[in-house]
Amino acid sequence: MKPVAFAYAKARTVDHAIELLSGHDGEARVLAGGQSLMATLNMRLSSPSLLVDINGIAGLDQINCEAGRVEIGALVRAAAAEGSAVIGQSVPLVAAALPYVAHPAIRNRGTIGGSVALADPAAELPACLLALRAEIAIAGPGGRRRVPADEFFRGLFETALGPRDVLTGIDFPAAGPGARFGFAELARRHGDYALVGLAAAAQREGEGLTNLRLAFFGVGSTPWRARRAEALLEGALIDPERLDAAVSALNQDLDPSDDLHASAALRRHLAAVILRRVVRQLTGEEPQ
């Protein structure tokens, strides 16, 4: 189908974008890579009165690395992030997840900021942000603020972004010595949204892992931390009994639902499979 008619404006600066959004009282939408927005417009699932195109705003397509932090600008394309040596070295979890994000033609246009702002519950990047304790940089009518990933994803396609806010970038702690990560995803076809996925981060300490964060996706309305499993795996060397206990704990941690793509029971089974796989990556038994 074709979209309902809308007006189009190219924002010159972030402040200009906020001004344009503010003038349309919740009826305007930000257009970044457009790889999800355009599909919803074409299907007439959404009919905004104005699209505010932020692609021309200078400076939002940068990757900056300083003082142990990596900031990925909102307009960095997934393909550019995938090819970035800085991200490969300092945010390796994101580098591992990006090849799973849709398909090459979509990664050439789709942006990091767009994926996070949309917050599809089966998308890879929101879960990576949650695992890595990233912060989301937002500019709005009241000024600029940073929201931790733990507080950003609030519900199904619902985030801390207001209708007049613009997501400007994502701020990650750079991986230091001993930082471990794991990533796995199961989908029917490469590049499809996950049936179940897991992004994980931890710190190697002696023979064990600390600061372990397990962020599942595709199992609820937001990316979701398996907190009981995290607690069971935290600390000393992970033996088979503790791993079994953590896998069992997923039954309480996760509450997936049935849909056209998979039953809740299948999702629970697959979550257990990928938890074992990701723990092996975290401990170094399998390549990250």
Binding site: G34, L51, A102, P104, A105, G191
Partner: protein, 161 residues
């Protein structure tokens, strides 16, 4: 701020200046306003890849980009890329291997295949499959398409098949 914009862009090397509705997708602009019907419209949701075109040298979905966003950019379609002769070997291999039946997906397949081949070397069948995952073919079952791309990769790399 309006529902129509005048844009100026390059399409297959020629400058085009035209007023388009803001809601006009790039693929509809190419087909309906410029008559370049080699690019096909499939799902209009980004799944099928039939509308694949090059924007500033990289493949994108023509259904997921607005024509107004192409102001100042360079767009290439299957017509332009074919005319330059840069995929003649690929087109020939597709025909030779029966890598198409109805042909609806073929323009998108060829442009995606060309992007895979531009990276150089001889990618594995698994790598070709992963890169092609965004292009649907409902006729061939993909094997022949992967055969054709693999064959051209080997030939371009100077390997006798």
């Amino acid at each position: 701020m309006s529902t129509a914009e005048t844009i100026s862009l390059r399409v297959n090397g020629e400058t085009v200046r035209q007023t388009v509705e803001a809601r006009r997708s790039l693929v509809d602009f190419l087909r309906q306003d410029l008559g370049l019907t080699g690019t096909h419209v499939g799902c209009e949701q980004g799944f099928c890849g039939a509308c694949t075109v090059l924007v500033d040298g990289v493949i994108v979905r023509g259904c997921l980009m607005l024509a107004v966003q192409c102001q100042g950019l360079s767009v290439e379609t299957i017509e332009g890329v074919s005319d330059k002769g840069e995929i003649a070997d690929l087109a020939q291999a597709f025909a030779g291997r029966n890598a198409l039946q109805c042909g609806y997906c073929t323009p998108g397949m060829l442009l995606t295949a060309q992007q895979i081949l531009k990276a150089g070397g001889t990618p594995s069948r698994a790598a070709i499959r992963a890169q092609l995952s965004g292009n649907y073919c409902r006729c061939t079952g993909y094997q022949a398409i992967i055969d054709a791309i693999e064959q051209v990769a080997r030939t371009r790399a100077g390997i006798q098949s």
